[in-house]
Homo-oligomer: 202 residues x 2
């Protein structure tokens, strides 16, 4: 269990819990993206995130049980935290199962069609050098609010940035993998191509 | 099994599959909303959607097995469809478990905090009579693209509209339950209050 020591886990129950929810949601999105684009590296990232989530879940359980033992009245309500953590863990397991199909190369063409036809779909957005996105951080761009697209990952040359941070700066040639409606993705593509020259917040 | 006949199921494998993915995603969002706002009616909707998803899953399996029996080469790839359907079903079960916690009234205050502090959170947006939203359909508004907020449900007086359609028209006094970043939700709230007078697409 040596590798467990190497992972940084947030300090308190709430932050661990928030991190679990965000991680599980990212895993689902990345698993669909991996299936759509047949990206094995992305599928492997999902499996790594599953291990991380198991560690978070373990730490949450330890802390919750400690808290429950201190106050018997609290114990029943704390059970609801463990139940919700279990639900989040189930979601992450489902994402991992999906990622395993990608790694086994058994994706039926229908699966990619289904992801493309969902209400919220996944798109690849190529950033051209003359786009207004270039040189700005994700925080400055706030793509979810301004375009309706949630950035899940960025491919920069051969390197992947999964779950990019607020201070990640968009570079020319970046491929953004994003989740949104078809309209939102089309809109971001126009901005990334340099056809639309202003962001809605400018 | 009489009630199964009453439910309309899409005609082909792809449409059933798309409907399953959309339904499971809605269930997760509604389950979080139900937990945040302690809305039992919303939690019950999640459990009803779970039954609907089971029916969809059954129809998908029947059709997939039929297709597999027609062509042995296809059978292995069709297995990946059943695996993905299973993952979607697992996600929907997790959402249903969450909804059950709401119905059992055992929500720990931390659960609501965690939903509020997630990257994507849930908000209630009250529509004032002088808002530009009033009288427009969801299709015209395209809130996901234009504000980054995904409408999950609308409360109109005592009535709930879950998973509102594209032709649903916003009325004064509507309460929109939406998913998005904190910034996106704040932005939609300003529009709904009538403070911001134009939509970004105008």
């Amino acid at each position: 269990m040596e590798e467990w020591d190497e992972v940084e886990v947030p300090n308190n129950v709430k932050d661990i819990f928030v991190e679990m929810k965000n991680t599980a949601e990212l895993m689902v999105d990345l698993a669909y993206s991996a299936a759509l684009f047949k990206e094995k590296e992305m599928a492997e990232e999902v499996l790594e995130l599953e291990e991380y989530l198991d560690i978070l879940n373990y730490h949450l359980m330890v802390r919750a049980v400690l808290a429950a033992s201190r106050s018997l009245e609290e114990a029943e309500k704390i059970t609801s935290i463990l139940q919700m953590a279990h639900s989040i863990d189930e979601i992450s397991n489902a994402a991992a199962d999906l990622a395993k199909i990608v790694l086994e190369e058994k994706i039926h063409p229908l699966i990619t069609e289904v992801i493309l036809e969902s209400e919220e779909t996944i798109g690849r957005v190529a950033v051209s050098p003359n786009s207004v996105l270039v040189g700005k951080t994700l925080e400055e761009l706030d793509l979810p609010t301004n375009t309706g697209v949630w950035p899940l990952a960025i491919r920069r040359g051969k390197r992947w940035i999964f779950d990019p941070e607020e201070d990640t700066r968009i570079m020319p040639g970046d491929i953004i993998i994003g989740r949104g409606t078809k309209t939102a993705l089309e809109y971001l593509k126009e901005i990334a191509r340099g056809v639309i020259k202003v962001m809605p917040n400018e």
